[in-house]
Point group: C2
Chain length 182, copies 2
Amino acid sequence: MDSAAKVLRAKGMMATRLSEIAEGAGMLAPSIYYHFKSKDVLVEKVMLEGIYRNTRYILAAVEGKNAGIDPVERLRTGIRAHVEFLLSDDDYSSAVARVFPELPEEMRGRVLAAYAAFENCWRDLIVAAHPKGGSIDAPVARKYLIAMLDSTPMWYRRGKLKPAQIAEQAADLFLGGYLAAG
Amino acid sequence: MDSAAKVLRAKGMMATRLSEIAEGAGMLAPSIYYHFKSKDVLVEKVMLEGIYRNTRYILAAVEGKNAGIDPVERLRTGIRAHVEFLLSDDDYSSAVARVFPELPEEMRGRVLAAYAAFENCWRDLIVAAHPKGGSIDAPVARKYLIAMLDSTPMWYRRGKLKPAQIAEQAADLFLGGYLAAG
DNA sequence: GTCTATAATCAGATAGAC
DNA sequence: GTCTATCTGATTATAGAC
């Protein structure tokens, strides 16, 4: 699964070959079938694991000691955590960001319950921080926030800007707009 | 090409079958090869056409009579235009949003010159509107803006919110954050 | 548990008739 | 320009030895 997550993160679902996953795990493609019934099942398990990790990581950050109880600061903490996790060496988190949008209909359905927990986590943070008289729909804000953050691994390249700085700018950008619009 | 754009918009590149494109054009798969040398060439032409359309549409809106010369209003106009175009019945614009991120390395290279024009269009609008002492990097803002907007067709469903309202919220969200952060 | 075959499937691409 | 028929190649998946 670790190898699968690594390849999926880099290539997406359709372009990922079982042979490449196997290579990363030090075996040949047919051996995978001893562990998983099919490619779809393997991808699905990676998705579930990644969604759980993402959700847990955000919740842990938000509930952590430094988070406090101010809803805006909690949301900011969640955004920072998600971006930094996506840019970390954890392959599952960014595999989800990359693969989930291109999942076949039928598989997305099976993963949806887990994904709902992830989205609900954001929904709660966003609704709690909603400004009085704000004009932006919470669901629209959530979709745009997730799309923004999940895009980060696709274009970020190590350079003068560190992940923590990107995370901070993502938080500034979203929160500035979300809180200001009213 | 129209049929290809329609299928690509809905399924992405890897999941798009030549047979389905052919069906939409009222022919069978092999007939496509009379018009295009390969599937890749066809997809590439759709991408180029889509990128040009997107760029032209934004520029036309920004240079239009209602745009004025205030840089912030120009950027707002560009955002509104792009979102509404993505949600229109034009298949090329959203095909780009969907397919470009998953293009194979080698093809992305060939499309990159055209895509640069699209990104430069945003770069100019964003730089012109950059607030004094703003803390958000223009390139980061551009990547996040494009990711936000391009995600719209993936989750928007016709309902109580009309495309124009989504476009307005996208503009409020981005501009609020971009202008406020300083 | 992993391997070496080998099937089974499928989609992109070609040949040649019409 | 489009068709039918076919080829090619890649990839998922199975069978059975070790």
